[in-house]
Amino acid sequence: MLRSSSRSLLRKLAKTWIYDLRARNISYEPLSWSQGSYATRMPPLFHHLPGLRLPPPLSDQMERFPTKITTLPNGFRIASEDSLGPSACVGLYVDSGSIYEKDESVGVTHLLEKMAFKSTRKRSHLQIVQEIEAAGGNVNASASRELMAYSYDTLKAYLPQAIELLLDSVINPAFLENEVQEQLIKVKGAIGEMSKDPQQFLIESLHHAAYSNALQNPLVAPEEALNRIDGSIIKKFYHENYTADRMVLAAFGVDHEQLLAIAKPILYDLPKGFPVEVPKSTYVGGDIRHKVDSEKTHVALAFEVPGGWHQERDATVLTLLQMLMGGGGSFSAGGPGKGMHSRLYLRVLNKYQEVQSFSAFSSVFNDTGLFGIHLTTGSDFVAKAVNVAASELLAVASPGQLTEVEVNRAKNATKSAVLTNLESRAIVTEDIGRQIVTYGCRKPVEHFLDILDELTPDDITLMAQKLLASPPTMACLGDVDRVPSYDSISNQFRTPY
């Protein structure tokens, strides 16, 4: 009796001891060495895994860490904000884009985006793909008119690999001729699909019509550019623009010292590059129309945003104005909160059944920008819809039209949109990178919220008046003959408020 019970006790002891051992090893070694098959060791998922020692939970009061910025002697900036979660995002942002393209290099930015994370002088494309897959990370590259963004989203355990790979692929690209040709063919194939995305097509046309240089350059490479571009043109553009003083390495969820320890030895001898003058864009306004046989007609009507991001307060007012006007599709998913009580929803979409989508948009750059209304309707209704768009823009510019209630609603919506966006790692990383490229420092989100809180309906009206003082820009796709003429539209905006 005694013996048997002591034996069972011993067995129990032995068991806990084994489990303990396993627990100690569990984090870095699979359980496969221990006794029994997977099925016997792994209970159904509603049971706890026996013997697993869990790390102590983190405190609920995870504070936010400050953004630390280091500038290397060659001008390269490294910025990071730490966080406690299990994952991190590293991004490399280059102060380059389609505005720097000239003559033969027009369209190169689009190709640079496609050539991201391809062969470098240290790694083949195969090796890059394998390394990313071995860590299970996500890479992403995007080109815009003023900024190139490369990012790598990963678990913290793979941070050194991620930083190294990201830097290698942006700093040492090989631009192998066969890879360039492969991408050129793909981009050519996608040209036909461009018209399937009318919104993007309109935005492209709008920039083409609105500006006389720099920002006029297409972001999507046109066909004639694709026939001209080859590896050497890309290389030339790359070497002119991807210089140390125009790059920012931004990271979220990374300790600054760790980031420096890995990135500094790689980056300290990057050449600084010659000072480049930022190409100035001149807003001219104008009209561009593409006639397509279609039941729907898409129109974008826009005005210049003077000052752009550099006029911080104005940019904030503009964000608020966009939220206030709001709008959207007449049929779209999502419950309350998608802006069903914004001006354009209440005053346009709920009133005219023929309108399929009607929304305010903005496209802001460092020193200038566009703001306006994008609409899609059946072609029969387009004349009326464009006039409605014009009168909606005039309405927000007329004093006394905006109520305190709707401005407060827009403020809360803006606040909530900004804060929920900043929940995401990738967006925080991009925010750090973008702000440092644009402002040279990172302003906390509270700064933006403070500006927002102080705004009054009059600020919005004044901003709208400033916008409408510029000549309008129009872009249309579809049955364009029914769209009111440019002159008739611009005449509407000549009346004083």
Partner: protein
């Protein structure tokens, strides 16, 4: 190895990092371009080719150790122990059976609160199919105290978002709000779930909206294929019905149906209130105690209902031939694992091994998944995606693909070959890579308060608890090549398949061809 390193060092007079960096590399490039490399003149044409290749390799061969210090193309199991700690998930079960679960990050200024309900379209009958989804629409259409307009304005004035979705087994209503609006949001959720008025006129108006949504869904071929796949794989069982329901039902669903569905399925023991972000557990529990008082406490669990009407997998197929469509699409599926089956983890790893691919993916021909490689190199598909769906008592595991009509037979062969290969030959490296990818994608997905609240809600309904990240990782790490082979033997080897195909599919091989390729004839 060491000797080679010495040699390469000797070849270079100075370590390259002492030179200004770019000039060093361009010098190498031009040297390689201009020099006819070999000393002895090449004789054969192959020598020319070899020299060209060597020159190309040499251009890439720039052994600057700084860039090759950490990364490795070979998947290793990394130590994640330092980062697997997360804020605690606190769960409280109230006296009526309602569970409240939260994960707090008090420093954040936003929060997501929501109600996750163990009810979905599989708990409907033939006549009421579509009710769960109809209810999801009607629940935002006003309560006894709030009109639609008041409800919408209340949410929009505080800059919040209210959203809902219905699946075959779960229904969710959640709100995304700023920190100080959490009590308000919970109040609204409680009101719409307990006091919805279901005005007849509103119901009639909503029918048109749902019928229009149905048209939209029918335009999305992927959704249609998966609906057909469920319809054939789980024929004559509740899981085979669609979520939206047939148009005839949408036209006839009444207020009684909706009320009835709420009282039988929206019961306290089958609900979880989940919150994450700027929320305090005690506060949420107190609020929920005060607000959710009208819920039915019917103790019937969803599992009991499922046991009454279990899903039965039937090997079968549905083909909708439409030669007007430019691309063909099909899905092949096996009977998979239920949520709580320990092998469901292995199936997730296997899904990740098969991977997904499309024409524009950056990895192109170099993806680790052999199936993806085959698709990319032979250009036999437009896109391909492995899927693994779990339900309470069953699951679906398989591959969905889109292709040009003349590639269908090659693609079908590639898919079946790679699926059935998992019962025979599995490499450790492939499994390890898939494990790493799975762990990363599961964790990287938890980005923001809404995915976290969603994760808590879903896990509490399916597993009855929230699985800590450390345990999930341990379970994934325990999957090795032999586990994959055993699980493939259980779910794939000589098992029936269900097929749904649509478009110009006349060249898709017949059912027996697929069934035959669930095993290889090798003895």
């Amino acid at each position: 190895m060491a000797i080679r390193k010495l040699l390469s060092l000797a070849r270079r007079p100075r370590p390259p990092y002492l030179l200004p960096y770019r000039t060093a590399s361009t010098a190498v490039a031009t040297a390689a371009d201009s020099s006819p490399a070999p000393v002895t003149p090449p004789v054969m044409i192959y020598d020319h080719l070899a020299a060209a290749v060597k020159a190309k390799i040499k251009r890439l061969d720039d052994p600057d150790p700084r860039f090759l210090r950490y990364a490795s193309p070979h998947p290793n199991l990394a130590d994640h122990s330092s980062i697997l700690a997360a804020p605690a998930t606190r769960v409280t079960t109230l006296s009526n059976g309602l569970r409240v679960a939260t994960e707090s990050t008090l420093a954040s200024s936003t929060a997501t609160v929501g109600v996750w309900i163990d009810a979905g379209s599989r708990f409907e009958t033939e006549e009421t199919n579509g009710t769960a989804h109809f209810l999801e629409h009607m629940i935002f259409k006003g309560t006894e105290d709030r009109t639609v307009r008041q409800l919408e304005e209340e949410i929009e004035n505080m800059g919040g978002h209210l959203n809902a979705y219905t699946s075959r087994e779960q229904t969710t209503y959640y709100a995304k709000v700023l920190d100080h609006d959490v009590p308000k949001a919970l109040g609204i959720l409680a009101d719409i779930l307990q006091n919805s008025s279901f005005d007849e006129a509103r119901i009639n108006r909503e029918r048109d909206v749902i019928l229009r949504e149905m048209e939209e869904v029918e335009g999305q071929t992927e959704e249609v294929i998966f609906d057909h796949l469920h319809a054939t794989a789980f024929q004559y069982t509740p899981l085979g019905r669609t979520i939206l329901g047939p148009a005839s039902n949408i036209k006839t669903i009444t207020k009684e149906h909706l009320k009835n569905y709420i009282s039988t399925h929206y019961t306290a023991p089958r609900m979880v209130i989940s919150a994450s972000g700027a929320v305090k557990h005690e506060d949420v529990v107190e609020l929920v105690k005060k607000l959710f008082i009208k819920l039915s406490t019917d103790p019937t669990t969803a599992s009991q209902l499922v046991a009454k009407e279990p899903a039965v997998f039937t090997g079968s197929e549905v083909r909708i031939i439409d030669d007007d469509m430019p691309l063909a699409q099909f899905a092949v599926a096996f009977n998979g694992a239920s949520w709580t089956d320990p092998d469901s983890i292995a199936l997730m790893v296997m899904q990740s091994m098969l991977g997904s691919w499309n024409k524009s993916v950056g990895g192109g021909k170099h993806m680790g998944s052999e199936l993806a490689q085959r698709c990319a190199i032979n250009e036999i598909a437009e896109s391909m995606m492995a899927f693994n769906t779990n339900y309470k008592d069953t699951g679906l595991f398989g591959v969905y693909a889109v292709a040009k009509p003349d590639c269908l037979d090659d693609l079908a062969y590639a898919i079946m070959y790679d699926i059935s290969k998992m019962s025979y030959r599995v490499s450790d490296a492939d499994v390890k890579r898939a494990c790493n990818q799975l762990k990363s994608s599961l964790q990287l997905h938890l980005d923001g308060t809404t995915p976290i609240a969603e994760d808590i809600g879903r896990q509490l309904l399916t597993y009855g608890r929230r699985i800590p990240a450390a345990e999930l990782f341990a379970r994934i790490d325990a999957v090795d090549a032999s586990t994959v082979k055993r699980v493939a033997n259980r779910f794939i080897f000589d098992q029936d398949v269900a097929i749904a195909a649509m478009g110009p599919i006349t060249k898709l091989p017949d059912y027996n061809w697929f069934r035959r390729r669930t095993y290889l004839l090798r003895y």
